[in-house]
Amino acid sequence: MTAPHGFSVSRYAPERGTLAKLAARDSVVRRLDWPILLSALALSFIGALLVWSATRGRTELNNGDPYYFLFRHVLNTGIGVALMIGTIWLGHRTLRGAVPVLYGLSIVLILAVLTPLGATINGAHAWIVVGGGFSLQPSEFVKITIILVMAMLLAAKVDAGDQIHPDHRTVAKALTLAALPMGIVMLMPDLGSVMVMAVIVLGVLLASGASNRWVLGLIGAGIGGAVLVTALGMLDEYQINRFAAFANPDLDPAGVGYNTNQARIAIGSGGLLGAGLFKGSQTTGQFVPEQQTDFVFTVAGEELGFVGAGLILVLLGVVLWRACRIARETTELYGTVVAAGIIAWFAFQSFENIGMTLGIMPVAGLPLPFVSYGGSSMFAVWVAIGLLQSIRVQRPMTA
């Protein structure tokens, strides 16, 4: 672009600087999906308030600093946004080349969890303590890796125009590559993450256009496996009770049942407008365990009421709706598959997390994207937003 003829603005105005470039009609900034970005930022902001409310009285966790978790959550969000920008800058296509490296790195990290480097937090041996109060949950990043590695394999020949749909060999290969890290995560055991990964795999397969047989077979295998495990009595009664306690808290009144019960009381007592931030008695009284992480939604329910909790659902809806649009509108299958994997991930993890606080899903240790406190999760979801933006930015302009 040049200045208009016969009239030079250069003397009066500076050369188009970085800001102006970013504001240009065809610039990356203008082509970003702003609804998705703003919604994700809003969710992270609400999350910061909720995490703050849930932790400012928990002296045993915050070492007497009521702002400790608030600060860390904001910091995590900042790092997350930076990771998103980095991802957009690199571009999902560039990342495609790095997938084998990322995959290998992921396997190493989750294997490291199984070594003495790993730490158990809340019953899941899923963490690597980095030091300085930081710890890493590699399974969060594995979710991205699985999406990328499967998308790379399944879309390669289709995008090259060699196939209309991925053939059986490709699908089998992709599934095998996904199954390896899932198996390791299962050993941790971090069943919640495995569940999410299974849904991701399903979403990826669906979007890739893989044969119906694969999709139905996968669903069938999941149901069959669950039935088999129950029928063969591989689970103890207490494990089944734990699982079923979300529906009937009396089955495990001291454990999961207590959580669900208190969570339901917290949310139910919020009413339309809630008790007001910092004013919820369930939250102030710390009746709900893990309230800044897995049960963060209960703070919203109690203190912000139906209006506030509903807003979280709406914002998640915006993110998912825009993600679906991105999946549909991108020209190459690779982008569509990555977007579909992210949609499956966000949708299922949100549904499971909120569903368990509402007593309609079994309790599993999964964070609510953007809202829950936790660095690894925060970084992973923002990288995912970066991938979505990259898919949107790098698709050819249709206008």
């Binding site: 979007a207 208190q262 139906f306 909790a309 709706w321 509108e329 020209t331 569509t336």
Partner: protein, 742 residues
């Protein structure tokens, strides 16, 4: 233009993307619906549940009101002890769960650290005592005997003792002014039971687990007034029970004071004299049983005639009510309630019942007049009265010729009453009673209030018994199986009696009505009933419900609610009969069976009326009864297995009157010494700060009225002039005859 770009992708993928989108939004809608259901539709339910989660009540006990005597002398009050308490909620917040603080506290209190730690642990099935059985949110007392020094140390170094308080706390005390214990009348407190806590849980005055409530006596009757209202602070707590806010605070309202009609000085005299009379009776030989009298229990009641208020009420054996304070020990409890204890908790003035013997005779006298006999008619008083082959002897088989009913009262002639009662029995149809039998002798007893509670404001009063036809029928129905089993014709006394009872125990036999007429047989009365009756004779016929409580006064003295006496009937006698009976009872005191105990009594100034009674009890020694009254007071004393009425109880009753009126042995009155020449009318003044200007009380000195403590009662010389018409009365009035039947 379609917003689906030309991607060159197959419809399969496009359709699947739409399916994914639909699935995703279905999930979100599900969550939204469920959220609405929980928060809007059922929100109220969860709000209530959340409230229960968070609110804990802490109760501050109200200071219990005092029981005061008629002049304001405390009979039961509270003393302040320094109680050191530990707040469990504060201690549990500390890193070592308060161990350092408690160890430091143990050092100050000269206790072992373990001792202190054990006191604040919570009781459960596995925890041995000591442990805390109350609410964990309540400050837990570590000791109630801290010295001022210790309390100061704790308070001055508050930073070293977080969660520890040293507060003066009110503890019940029975100070026994002038050595008047007033044990059974005051009653006692004991901890609430779980059932009571549960019952009061949702009322406006919930119990603390550490609460005490009145179990007997005035403490029980006026428990509600005395207790006041405990303060309740509702705290919001977190999941570990830590306090995070204060929701509501109702301050404690101290209990009201109850002013009684008891005069502690008179009470002290009554208690000392009753006890002394029993001690003296045990020195007297009983020729019937060939051993000394056992005098195992007794009671005395001093009542105001015109109101029925109780000035003094003593029951022996008694006990120190302070034994109950701070929890009674197992040893003390056994001593008060065990099989060998002789049951000192019983207030025998209202819970002891016995055959009244001759103090009953005012009732058959009234019955005879009401049945149509002339009071001043002439009735034979032979030495014995025969029905068939049964012979009913007069006392000592004495005969007195032909006498009036008044004289029959004075000399306590049994045979006059035998004959009258027997005649009425025959008139009523004998063994086959008429449908509308008059039953004058039984009806009159009921009209005098016997066989029913007097309604005194003390719990668990007993009714006594009028052995009328209905009672006989009921009693027989209850016992005939037993009687018929053990009864044997011509066997031992008991077997023979059971045999007869089995056959016709449901019927009023001639012998029954004869025995009944002199207050023997199955007749039972309580001392309070007899005091009520004699007070009624004195006051013109009103049977007052006796009262000990006189007024309820608020802690600041501003609100005074007087307890007005109520009556439960009038005596069934006209004024003429009453005057004649009064004259006869005065005669008993001046020339009859009680005269030898009232030598030197200023009868012209303070007219004395009396009736003595010596009731026979099968298998036991005789019961001594003495019923007396002046214009203002009635005094009834009884001693079980104590001997005769005037013999065992006479001197004690006389000494109580002497103390009331300030008399010496010779009958000289010294009003300065008189404790209560007139009943106490005014109420004591309670200041707004709750203090009471009560007079100081000196213990009773039994020697004070004695002119010569060594001189024996001057009975023979003082025997009044006999009725000129009846020279043989002189003998009756004469002492000493401790064994004599009145």
């Amino acid at each position: 233009m379609s917003n689906i770009p030309e991607t060159g992708r197959t419809p399969r993928v496009q359709i699947r993307l739409v399916v994914i989108q639909i699935l995703v939004f279905s999930l979100l809608l599900t969550l939204g619906g469920r959220l609405w259901y929980l928060q809007i539709r059922n929100g109220k339910e969860y709000t209530d549940e959340a409230k229960n989660n968070h609110v804990q009540q802490v109760v501050q006990p109200a200071v219990r009101g005092s029981l005061l005597d008629a002049r304001g002398v405390p009979l039961a009050d509270n003393e302040t002890r320094l109680v050191v308490s530990a707040s469990r909620t504060d201690l549990m917040k500390m890193k070592d769960r308060g161990k350092t603080v408690l160890t430091r506290l143990a050092g100050v209190l000269d206790m072992k650290p373990d001792e202190v730690i054990n006191k604040i642990r919570l009781c459960d099935s596995k925890t041995p005592k000591p442990c805390w059985n109350g609410s964990p949110y309540q400050p837990i007392p570590v000791t109630d005997e801290a010295t001022t020094q210790q309390a100061l140390q704790i308070r001055e170094r508050a930073e070293d003792f977080p969660g520890i308080t040293a507060e003066p706390t009110a503890v019940r005390r029975y100070p026994a002014p002038g050595k008047s214990r007033t044990s059974q009348v005051l009653g006692y407190l004991s901890p609430v039971t779980d059932a009571e806590i549960e019952k009061a849980k949702d009322t406006d005055s919930p119990f603390l687990r550490s609460d005490q409530i009145g179990r007997s006596g005035l403490e029980r009757t006026y428990d509600k007034e005395l207790r006041g209202k405990a303060g309740v602070t509702r705290y919001e707590v977190d999941n570990l029970g830590r306090v995070i806010g204060q929701a509501k605070n109702d301050p404690a309202i101290p209990g009201s004071n109850v002013v009684t009609s008891i005069d502690a000085r008179v009470q002290a005299v009554a208690e000392w004299e009753l006890h002394n009379a029993m001690v003296e009776a045990r020195k007297v030989h009983d020729k019937n049983t060939s051993e000394n009298y056992k005098a195992d229990s007794g009671a005395v009641v001093v009542m105001e005639n015109k109101t029925g208020r109780i000035v003094a009420m003593a029951s022996q054996p008694d006990y120190d009510p302070n034994a109950w304070v701070g929890g009674i020990s197992a040893k003390d409890y056994a001593a008060l309630t065990g099989k060998d204890s002789n049951f000192p908790l019983l207030n025998r003035a209202i819970q002891g019942q016995a055959a009244p013997g001759s103090i009953f005779k005012v009732i058959p006298t009234t019955a005879a007049v009401n049945a149509g006999y002339d009071f001043n008619g002439r009735y034979p008083c032979p030495s014995s009265y025969s029905i068939g082959n049964q012979v009913f002897k007069n006392f000592e088989s004495q005969g007195h010729g032909s006498i009036t009913l008044g004289q029959a009262l004075e000399v306590s002639c049994d045979t006059v009453y035998y004959a009258l009662s027997h005649q009425q029995w025959q008139k009523d149809g004998g063994m086959k009673p008429k449908k509308n039998a008059n039953d004058w002798f039984y009806k009159t007893a009921h009209q005098f209030g016997l066989g029913a509670e007097t309604g005194i404001d003390l719990p668990n009063e007993v009714t006594g018994r009028v052995p009328d036809r209905k009672w006989k029928q009921d009693f027989w129905a209850d016992n005939k199986d037993y009687w018929c089993r053990i009864g044997k014709k011509g066997g031992t006394y008991v077997q023979q009696l059971s045999y007869e009872n089995c056959l016709e125990g449901n019927l009023m036999r001639a012998g029954d009505s004869v025995n009944y007429s002199i207050g023997q047989g199955d007749t039972l009365v309580t001392p309070i009933q007899m005091a009520t009756i004699y007070a009624a004779i004195a006051n013109g016929g009103t049977l007052w419900n006796p009262t000990v409580g006189k007024a309820i006064v608020s802690p600041d003295g501003k609100k005074v609610t007087e307890i007005k006496p109520t009556s439960h009937g009038k005596l069934p006698m006209d004024t003429k009969t009453q005057a004649l009976i009064e004259e006869a009872l005065a005669g008993v005191a001046t020339r009859g069976t009680a005269a030898w105990r009232f030598g030197g009594w200023p009868q012209d100034k303070i007219p004395m009326h009396a009736k003595t009674g010596t009731a026979e009890v099968y298998g036991k020694q005789t019961t001594s009864w003495f019923a007396t009254y002046t214009k203002d007071y009635a005094i009834v004393m009884t001693i079980a297995q104590g001997g005769t009425g005037s013999g065992a109880s006479g001197p004690a009753v006389r000494n109580i009157y002497d103390a009331l009126y300030g008399l010496d042995d010779a009958g000289n009155q010294d009003l300065k010494r008189a404790l209560l020449p007139q009943p106490q009318k005014s109420l004591p003044k309670i200041e707004t700060d709750g203090s009471i200007d009560a007079p100081k009380i000196k213990p009773y000195d039994p020697e004070i009225g004695k002119i010569d403590p060594n001189a024996p009662p001057k009975a023979p010389d003082d025997t009044p002039q006999a009725d000129p018409d009846k020279p043989d009365q002189q003998e009756l009035a004469g002492p000493p005859a401790a064994w004599r039947r009145d």
